[in-house]
Symmetry: D2
């Protein structure tokens, strides 16, 4: 994660301040539950809340950690300095560091997921708006990068909407995967702490108790979470690639928004680069690369080894911050994308009418012309378009053999764009609902 | 995929015979729908069903494909040979190859998912049985590969059960992800075919119509599917690794089942290798390696490029066949795993009672001894165990300073294994339900 | 690996016949060395060579393996059937299965590397030929998919040549990485066999003795090997992507060769799909996906675990067969690529002269016009081109303010393509040598 | 990259200060070459060196970039502020941003490689020292985690030495891969700048001119570089895993150094966790995860797209900093590893003499006992060891049938450890050279 590709709300989730705040809340709620169980005095539990509005001193905690070599102990020492050593002496009782660390990590991931979910919702709104705006903007559909049949720009936006809507579901599932907490002790047996503490803390922190943990929360959950981010990132790349293609000089069906004042825009109007979507392509690679380490993290030795930790200290922030940034950037790109309907028409007509050759071929055979003859008829006219730049429809209308099989109206009809757009409403209803 | 790591039911899904059967069904159902719409004659639709019980001649289709260079055309030619050229002439009308290929692929993936789901259910049954069998079999819990606190073998099985139960949910979700079909034409506009055909075919094939497709079904679905297989495979490795650890000579808490007759077993009883779980570790790597290509497949150019195809021709069969084999092999391993409770106790007592030192330390401080003094008391007795092989409890009972703080009963209590297993029932109830 | 993407020579390397032949040679050479050392009788060593021209019966070996559950023992049993039990009784003495398996695997990988090296050499020849053919074929260079400055098609071929030439070096290094053998016994100590045997066998098999092995040859070698294949595959994708871009309808600067008879080519001349290069893109993903499992294979427990084996049984053949096929396919594509120089010129002139605007801007400032004024002068003429389709040079020549700073000749010179191609020979000399 | 896993020298390479310093040097040397060519005045070239000892003001450059949205322009503006606008007006003439950015990136990577190479050299020294120290320290070799035959701890260190020595070669090759520079203009044609400038700058910066570049240096070089880091990281994990295994409670053949004062060490002497090597396992996953994005970066559109940039801004620092930290940490671990030869012997003798059963079996058959009888003899004595804890050698010596075939001396000889270590010197000579 680097500042250039970061947004503050997501970064804040991963700050030391946030982390210590979550640790504090876990410890304080655990004390409440312990007091309720009669394990520790109520007064001591109450005392912990004295720090409720205190800003923890990160630098001070770091200093202590430099000595103790233990982050949780450093924090607890600092907390004791605030609420008093005597009052603090039951804090963390019966817990292991992982109870705090793992539960905190999942709180952070859940909050990160909330932002990502909101990001996708924002992107969906933009995609929907642009889809309706360009519902009937005809452009050529392409398979293999080659002109196939007409479609509309609205359908392009709509399919990205549908894809991102699936990602929304996946993110919600992914959030549920990691929104669990565990306060179950050194090997998960609750030997030193009652399961009721876990239940209380989880309820307060918005988590579900992990049904069975060891020293740690099982990492298949995190693997599923990061794998989902990898899928979402790949969808970001998919959309970004479409736009990069549309913006290339020879296509020019759309451009990323380029503000008037932006340097070089008008002296070199042909040189507006799709740098945002290119950047998104790279960011997708980054997020995708974090999937494998997350999958490798699933295998831990016995009740835990700590190999996952260094991975997560990196990919926890990096994957969520990068994806958040990418989704927001993509939303901006979609929102302001400059679409060129005229260029779309011009491109479609590059080989004047040739994209309709398959319909004509089909019509001829349906009119009783043998497959071979039909093929030959289409071919001789198509080659005039291809080689001499003639207009396909005009050639057909002037070809007596074609006209013997098809009326001028029938020929005209084959070039009707409405033929290709007649089900757009149906598809929109499927994607956006029937309203 | 190689035969050594394959099972026949899963392999059969990916056979040419199955593929052509599915193609046939798609085409036949499409004809029914076309006839219902009045687009083609009912008689022609009916005629297609003449091939219902015919075994397609794969070699013949391959021969035709060698000439036409087109697999779907080769199949249709063969079909026409069977039902008659005239009867066959409306087959595939308005459809593109991808309508058949993509819908077929998803049928295959959905069936593959069904097998994988059944595999996991079988594995869950084995894990549950072994969990209850060893619910109270005490063994040492380990963090960092180092003895921590006691747990039970039943909890180990139970946590693998919980992990695989999550994988069951994930596989069901993954199945839903790819159980869609599309018959929407060259660029997904339904220009040449009514959406009703897609609806009919999908209903018959057990699929949901893809709300919006291009020439292909969007590949984020497949990415999510294969990513899920990667998570499941990683869980397989997680369980396999636990067993490999348990079987290593110095630990020997369990062994993969080794049949009496198996060569070398009794002349070299110490040399029984966990080759099945080692193999599972490798198979997990293979499945995991297929996640990235599946994620890269999401980005296709415009309405489709065919880059995804060669990837899927490989990972479609390979990932599902490998994971099916792995799950079945793991189920066998779990089912017949030879567990050595006595060795578990012996391991736990390797450093006679030392694993309880933390409890003693805590008890001393709770009894009012200062942290420093408590630490010192534990230390001097622990070192006698560590360096001279003494018994920790006996040393404590013989240490007057310890006995001044703790009664003999209190000391004895710290070595009570029941302390560690008291919540096993609670955890089992969470994992397996309250019955 | 599937037949569709396979070539016979590479497939043959991975056949059971080849494998058993290599095993046989290893065993026979080992016997020679053992006899030379006086460890086994010379007659027994000689007897092994009786099988020199015998075709091993793979089906029979499989039958035996089905009983013994051990592939090497099955082979040795079959060998003994051929040369006589008594004669065979010193075969494999002092060796472990891995001595044979690992050494064989490296022989196979080295041979596979030889084919890949020859593939790249063939590709280089094609690239070089096309580079010289199109050394002076001007086309527009593009950054971000947007027109930048002119370059030549020859430079494009030349840079792919340089890239593949680097891959040639990498493949040679990769071959050296895995061309080692080991006959060092159960844990690599040569306890039961003299190092001289390893030396003799390796010399005969074209390998270098592994300086220190355990039961296996260290897998960092294989990781480096497969990582190299991943790099080469990525270069294949790089070239494939360039061609896919060139073939897209709006660009049409080149096309994959499309034989006259190929269906649909002339009735739909606009619909020739770059299916070969799209396919190469997918194959690259496959090979790349095998890098991670190979890297994960490096970590084996102690003197070996067998987790690497299932991975290698797959990626050994799959990665080499796929890459061989891809390189050969790419060579064919390059060799026959249809290049359209006229379209290249037409594309370059799409925005009539605008690609030269930066040169004009620079020339104005060098002529003493202030940056702001120069910018403004270029801008007002550029916008006429962009918005009204005027010709940039003509507008400049007609702009008195421009002409006040630059002579007509100077303006003309800015549009001289020779300016951009003047160093092509220098670059070619760098890439192809000074001849 | 996070501070916790970073070392200052490597971090410094990636600081903005270093980057601007390198940019400056590139620009200054380019001016020299331009002046030498007569393209710009010598005085202007000389003026640039006025900034030679100036510390650039990163914050100021960032401010300018916030306005210009262009990092290189921001730097050049700042440079002009320092040396004077008039003096600076020929700086960067004929160059594009990528000339500076790409050349700088490769300088940084080459310097990073130098540190990594030094890291590996340091690690090699530690491994060699420990190898000789424990050349004759016998321990059991293990395949599949199961006792196989004796080996020595020195051989373990020696094989890690050999593996890391290969990594040293690979890193040197990787350094050579990326130690190139390019100053070739917008599409690599040198249209606006003479190749002599590139040659001069590269020579001064310790680089080789890239034979053919586009706007960028080809990314197959970087892919090969990062793939190599992935191999090295995997070797780090391999060594780390060996140590983690050795430290697990039941094995305890070695421990990471644990300073006397370290908390908990003596009160819980059994609870020293191999946290450093566990951490290395995670760091290896991180570096490995960066290989795939680097491979995906190879494919750029035409003469460049900028998708690689965001990837490299992350993995450039992250991969090198992480690997540097990992290598240094591993060196410390090896250097101070506490080895327990007595525990090695105790482990080897866990099943008293059974590891020799294969040698006895072989000796019996060589003494003329039939395979079946020999097997049966070994078996009945082995089972007494396995089930009743007897000593294998004593049982054999007491078995009249065994003694009928083998003399007591012959039996004793089978238990001679010297048999297994006799070639250690040979292997050491291979690994470390003949001296």
């Amino acid at each position: 994660m680097i500042p250039r590709y970061s947004r503050p709300d997501m970064v804040a989730i991963w700050s030391p301040e946030t982390k210590f705040r979550i640790w504090y809340e876990i410890e304080a709620h655990a004390c409440d539950a312990q007091a309720e169980l009669g394990v520790i005095p109520q007064a001591n539990a109450d005392a912990v809340w004295k720090a409720k509005d205190v800003d923890f001193d990160v630098a001070r905690i770091d200093e202590i950690e430099a000595v103790t070599k233990h982050d949780v102990i450093a924090f607890l020492t600092h907390l004791a300095d605030i609420i008093g050593n005597d009052e603090a002496r039951f804090v963390h009782q019966g817990m292991t560091s992982s109870d705090v660390l793992d539960t905190c990590f999942n709180v952070q991931l859940a909050r990160a997921a909330d932002i990502l979910i909101a990001d996708v919702e924002g992107l969906l709104a933009a995609l929907k708006r642009r889809a309706y705006e360009h519902k009937d903007t005809v452009r050529i559909g392409r398979s293999h990068g080659i002109h196939a049949e007409p479609t509309t720009m609205g359908l392009t936006f709509a399919r990205f909407y549908a894809e991102m809507d699936r990602n929304l579901s996946r993110l919600r599932d992914a959030r549920a995967e990691i929104a669990t907490g565990a306060i179950s002790g050194a090997v998960g047996t609750f030997a030193n702490i009652d399961p009721a503490v876990e239940e209380h803390v989880c309820a307060k922190m918005g988590l579900v108790p992990e049904p069975i943990s060891t020293q740690v929360i099982p990492r298949d959950r995190h693997a599923a979470f990061f794998a989902t981010l990898g899928v979402v990132a790949s969808s970001v790349e998919n959309i970004a690639t479409e736009i990069r293609h549309m913006q290339r000089t020879e296509v020019l069906e759309a451009e990323e928004f380029f503000s008037k004042g932006q340097k070089g825009s008008s002296a070199m109007p042909h040189k507006r680069n799709p740098v945002l979507t290119e950047n998104l392509t790279g960011l997708a690679r980054l997020v995708r690369g974090m999937v494998i380490p997350a999958l490798e993290n699933v295998t831990l030795w016995h009740e835990r080894d700590i190999s996952h930790s260094s991975v997560e200290r990196n990919i926890g922030p990096d994957a969520t911050i990068t994806l958040d940034f990418a989704l927001a950037r993509l939303t901006g790109v979609i929102d302001k994308l400059v679409v060129y309907p005229n260029n779309m028409l011009a491109n479609m007509n590059k080989f004047r009418g040739l994209v309709m050759s398959q319909r004509v071929l089909l019509a001829l055979t349906q009119a009783g012309v043998s497959r071979e003859d039909a093929y030959s008829l289409v071919q001789r006219n198509a080659m005039k378009v291809w080689e001499q730049g003639k207009d396909f429809k005009e050639e057909l209308l002037a070809d007596p053999d074609v006209c013997a099989a098809l009326s001028p109206e029938a020929i005209e009809e084959k070039f009707d764009l409405g033929y290709h757009t007649k089900h757009v409403d149906t598809i929109f209803a499927r994607v956006f609902g029937e309203d």
